[in-house]
């Protein structure tokens, strides 16, 4: 259970990275606690970096352990909306942990995962959607994923959804006005314009949803199965793509039995590679179980690499690429030619994989990556489609509105709820209503 009026501390940079590491404190005592950690005398100037040394024990005689830069961000203009101090130290995990522990000794509490973001959200510094983006950012493994999360944080997606939401809101307000103020002599919505306006909105949610598959792939990563006859060099190729000798390679056909997986970064895409047993008829129990698993892996993969040597390709999986391995030897010319041993053609193979997956990253196209968001936009889309149908059948406005309001509710769950008076305000600001 979180409390939001004490001071929390945690390492803010991802674990295990070199260079600079940051410890962040947030809460009413952030400033005071920091001053008791550093040798610097006097208070910290807001938003100015102060170079000082940090002493991590309460023992006054002890040597300072590191030189650090501390920066104070007084409330409310800070990441969390509370007083925040950031301590940048050299990124050794040992030092960072020591600083955190020292802060705890002086009255701070170790933050729960996500607690800084929770405070930012509770203090109204970020909206729900951005709060989720922060979590994505922290989880991000590869640069592209980080960027998709970052886009969301910066607002590409927020802007796209806000755009749809604002247009929908205006339409809803006008329809509500026509219902509530029937004798004001206004056409709040021009006759005939309603259907078109709703179709346009449905088109925009549809576009977001179309992007969602791509977004989801970026977020959750893809599975690529490597299959083929025994000894064609699947495990060798797997190791080459993974950049490590993960799978056993021998010249004995049937070496690989179990599925071997490795997460790799393929030009920014997070991909799970699956090495499999060579496909062949066999009465050997262990091997036949391996073949069975290989087929299943191929069936569920986003893409199958069918590796061939001198044999014919056995086509499995709905989406596949034929990879001609051992191109350093005399081999037929088909599919993508590579050599797992020399590394020739591997770049071509990576490009071919990206092309086959159809996930070319586009920087400025907003990508819905969060399952919850996809579900909400989907709900909005279904409601908009239904509203469009009702408008086309000339149903009275209040029925069209029932669905439009539902769409609005779904979008506002992403972009944040409006105050209930907002609708009337919108109407009164635009139309002279009342007697």
């Amino acid at each position: 259970m979180f409390s939001t009026n004490d001071t929390i501390v945690a390492i803010a940079t991802p674990p295990g990275r070199g260079g600079i590491g940051v410890v962040r404190l947030s809460g009413p005592d952030a400033h005071a606690i920091t001053l008791r950690l550093v040798t610097h005398n006097g208070s910290l100037r807001p938003r100015r970096a102060t170079l000082t040394r940090i002493a991590c024990t309460t023992d006054a005689a002890a040597e300072p352990i590191d030189q650090v830069v501390v920066t104070s961000f007084p409330r409310p203009h800070s990441y969390t909306g509370d007083d925040v101090v950031e301590v940048s130290a050299h990124g050794s995990p040992v030092i960072l942990r020591a600083i955190v522990e020292a802060a705890i000794d002086r009255g701070a509490r170790l933050a729960e995962p996500g607690e800084f973001t929770l405070r930012a959200f509770l203090n109204g510094r970020i909206d729900l959607m951005q709060a989720e983006a922060v979590a994505d950012l922290i989880d991000a493994v590869t640069p592209l994923q980080a960027r998709a999360a970052f886009d969301q944080l910066e607002g590409t997606l927020t802007a796209a959804i806000a755009g749809i939401d604002a247009a929908l809101f205006d339409l809803v307000a006008r329809l509500e006005a026509s219902v509530d103020f029937p004798d004001e002599g206004y056409h709040f919505v021009e006759p005939g314009a309603l259907g078109r306006a709703i179709d346009d909105l449905a088109g925009r949610t549809a576009a977001l949803l179309a992007g969602a598959r791509r977004g989801q792939l970026i977020r959750d990563g893809l599975q690529i199965a490597i299959v083929g006859r025994p000894n064609v060099g699947k495990s060798s190729l797997f190791n080459a793509l993974a950049g490590a000798a993960r799978a056993i390679v021998t010249d004995v056909p049937g070496t690989t039995r179990d599925l071997v997986t490795e997460v790799v970064d393929l030009d920014g895409l997070r991909v799970t590679l699956v090495d499999t047993a060579g496909l062949r008829e066999t009465s050997e129990r262990v091997e036949s179980e391996g073949v069975e698993r290989a087929r299943r892996a191929a069936a569920v993969a986003d893409l199958v690499l069918i590796v061939v040597d001198e044999d014919e390709a056995e086509l499995v999986g709905t989406k596949h690429l034929v990879v001609q391995n051992k191109a350093d030897l005399e081999r037929p010319s088909r599919g993508v030619r590579v050599s797992a041993v020399t590394g020739a053609g591997l770049d071509d193979l990576r490009r071919a994989i990206i092309a086959a997956l159809d996930v070319e990253p586009v920087r400025d196209r907003p990508a819905l990556t969060n399952v919850r968001h996809i579900a909400l936009v989907e709900r909005a889309h279904v409601s908009l489609t239904r509203a469009a149908g009702a408008a086309r059948r000339s149903m009275p406005e209040e029925f069209v509105l029932a669905d439009l309001q539902d769409a609005r509710a779904a979008l506002e769950e992403i972009s944040g709820r409006r105050a209930s008076e907002a609708l009337l305000e919108h109407i009164f600001a635009r139309f002279c209503i009342g007697k």
Partner: protein
């Protein structure tokens, strides 16, 4: 010894009359304290009842057993069902009243209640002992004891009227303000504010040649519906003579006059500080805030069948009297009109309704109830609806009964009360259908199906109304049955149940009835439109209704989940200081209400929810 009442009601406006009537009907001995019996249920502004959403309120008041619906049916002189071109969910009745007759009708209705005793005088001081109301002192001397006190003093608390630069203290034109009472109330510690409203000038009917201007097209004639659709579920056909109203438009001359004199408008020169309703803009507001709008509608409405006054709807203002006359004369056809009374603006104190519970009882003083404009609302219907709720609960309080609450998902009255007690008022509050989340279910045709059983439980529905309701409910059920079972020939040639045919948008039940193909469909002659609407809506829009009903069921668990009265919000970890402060101010009784408090985030309510669960171990407390 002081005379003792179960319930004292201060004010015989629309709120006070409903409150006194309801409390008396429940068996409470009621003292109705008012300045004069000449202004009972007076309409200081527009002589009309109903309108979008307001018409819903009146139907609901009637369904529960209140007065307003019957009063307007008995005295209405032009009836219109608004939004008829739309679906039945947003149909709203509206009627012009014969203003004098309306007041007299309500006075008679109260005179007929043996439990109501008039206390003519000026209420001055609320008597409180140990955070409990014990009585009322009139200005002067007399003191009365009571168990519950309902205050419905409208615009009278420190009322201040503005006509141009002239200001004088008054509750309404020609009536004294209530100062002592205002101070007595404030001394109890209530949060209060100041609002403003206004009314247009009245013209002399004799000075306007309506026939000529209607003939030559200067005035557009506005007729009512024939036959009128009554408000009350008890009313038969309305056959009183009906009147016409007239529509004119403002012109450039009106615009120029307003602009030239804008610095003489107390609204614009800083003389008025109270906040007015944006949905009832003054003429000054219309011209200044919407310079692009070329002309504004003005309705000329007789205040009664024989009344001398013509109400100039849409022309409310607080400019000096001479400018008002010039403005009237600038309107087409009114060149020679005589101004009987100028329009004016009035500022008054109100109490922030966040001080109240869902029963409209103050949280600070047990037994003290507030209803009507004193709570920041505006409009007769909003006042009456609150009066009804407060009156029932005051009687329940005095007689030791359990209390009566209406919720958002069952009524507009519930929405009204919930909005008031949750959000307070920053400007005068009026009801709109867009405030209803589940509008399709809250229709005028089913107000009785929704609420008459509630009124019966509360004790306000008498046997006559109840019998009638039971007949109507079984008629409704039979009608659905008839439509499900009467086979009709579809365009395909197949014979299908009438209900199936009705689901096609272009097939209308009225037409089927007119063609005589559903002979077993029953309806009361005076409410045929309602009987038909109830059945048709239920069938034609079944999908929509089902979905809204499902939403209500889904949310009801949280929506109605009780927060115990003494729940310590400050002890819930994770809530910001601001949120705790808002929660403590409003003290929501349900999680649903907590979620609607401005500034309380969904995340905060999620946290709250987990704690409320722990503080209420007994399922019967939920």
């Amino acid at each position: 010894m002081k005379q003792h009442f179960d319930v004292i009601v201060i004010g015989a406006g629309h709120a006070g009359c409903e409150a006194a009537h309801a409390a008396a009907r429940l068996g409470a001995h009621v003292g109705l304290c008012t300045l004069s019996t000449d202004t009972v249920a007076h309409m200081p502004c527009n002589p009309a009842v109903g309108g979008t959403a307001k018409g819903h309120l009146v139907r609901e008041i009637d369904a529960i057993g209140g007065l307003m619906g019957r009063a307007i049916d008995a005295t209405g002189i032009q009836f219109k069902l608004l939004n008829r071109s739309r679906g039945p969910a947003v149909w709203s009745p509206r009627a012009q009243a014969d203003k004098k007759m309306y007041g007299r009708w309500v006075k008679h209705a109260l005179d007929a209640e043996a439990n109501v005793e008039w206390l003519i005088g000026k209420a001055g001081r609320i008597l409180v002992s140990g955070e409990r109301v014990v009585g009322l002192a009139l200005e002067g001397a007399d003191e009365y004891a009571c168990e519950a006190l309902v205050m419905t003093t409208g615009t009278f608390l420190n009322g201040l009227i503005h006509i141009g630069p002239d200001q004088h203290a008054a509750g309404r034109a020609g009536e004294p303000p209530s100062r002592e009472l205002a101070e007595s109330l404030k001394s109890l510690g209530f949060e209060w504010g100041r609002l403003k409203t206004g009314t247009p000038p009245r013209l002399d009917r004799e000075s306007i040649d309506f026939d000529r201007h209607a003939d030559d097209g200067t005035f557009a004639v506005e007729r009512g519906d024939m036959p009128p659709v009554p408000f009350s579920f008890l009313s038969g056909a309305i056959d009183r003579p009906q009147i016409d109203c007239y529509l004119v438009h403002t012109n450039d001359r009106v615009r120029d006059l307003v602009r030239a004199n804008i610095d003489r408008s107390p609204l614009f020169n800083g003389q008025i500080r109270g906040i007015g309703p944006r949905y009832c803009p003054s003429l000054e507001d219309k011209i200044v805030r919407f310079p692009d709008k070329e002309r504004h509608q003005i309705f000329l409405e007789p205040e009664g069948v024989d009344a001398r006054e013509i109400y100039v709807n849409g022309f409310s203002m607080s400019l000096p009297r001479d400018v008002q006359a010039d403005l009237v004369h600038a309107l087409p056809g009114l060149e020679d009109a005589v101004l009987l009374r100028p329009g004016y603006a009035v500022e008054y104190d109100f109490i922030q309704p966040t001080e109240l519970t869902r029963r409209l009882e103050t949280k600070r003083v047990r037994g003290l109830f507030l209803a009507g404009q004193i709570n920041g609302t505006s409009g007769y219907e909003e006042a009456a609806a609150q009066g009804l709720v407060a009156g029932i609960n005051a009687a329940h309080r005095a007689l030791g009964r359990e209390g009566f609450e209406l919720h958002r998902d069952e009524s507009y009255i519930g929405i009204l009360v919930d909005d008031l007690i949750t959000k307070g008022c920053l400007e005068p509050y009026r009801m709109f259908t867009s405030r209803a989340e589940h509008r399709l279910l809250l229709r005028i045709d089913n107000a009785d199906l929704r609420l008459t059983p509630r009124g019966r439980d509360a004790g306000l529905v008498d046997n006559e109304r109840w019998d009638r309701f039971c007949r109507r409910r079984s008629r409704f059920d039979r009608n659905l049955c008839v439509l499900e079972t009467t086979p009709l020939r579809a365009s395909s040639g197949d014979r299908v149940p009438a209900a199936q045919l009705l689901r096609q948008p272009e097939i209308r039940l009225v037409d089927l009835i007119a063609q005589g193909v559903v002979p077993h469909f029953e309806s009361e002659p005076s409410s045929a439109a309602i009987d038909i609407a109830s059945a048709e809506t239920t069938i034609k829009y079944a999908g929509y209704l089902r979905r809204q009903q499902a939403e209500i069921e889904r949310s009801r668990k949280d929506e109605r989940r009780r927060i115990p009265p003494a729940f310590p919000f400050e002890r819930v970890p994770g809530l910001s200081r601001e949120v705790v402060q808002r929660l403590n101010q409003v003290r929501p009784d349900t999680l649903g209400q907590a979620l609607r408090i401005p500034g309380v985030t969904p995340a905060a309510v999620a946290v709250l929810a987990s704690y409320v669960g722990r503080f209420t171990p007994h399922p019967n407390m939920l």
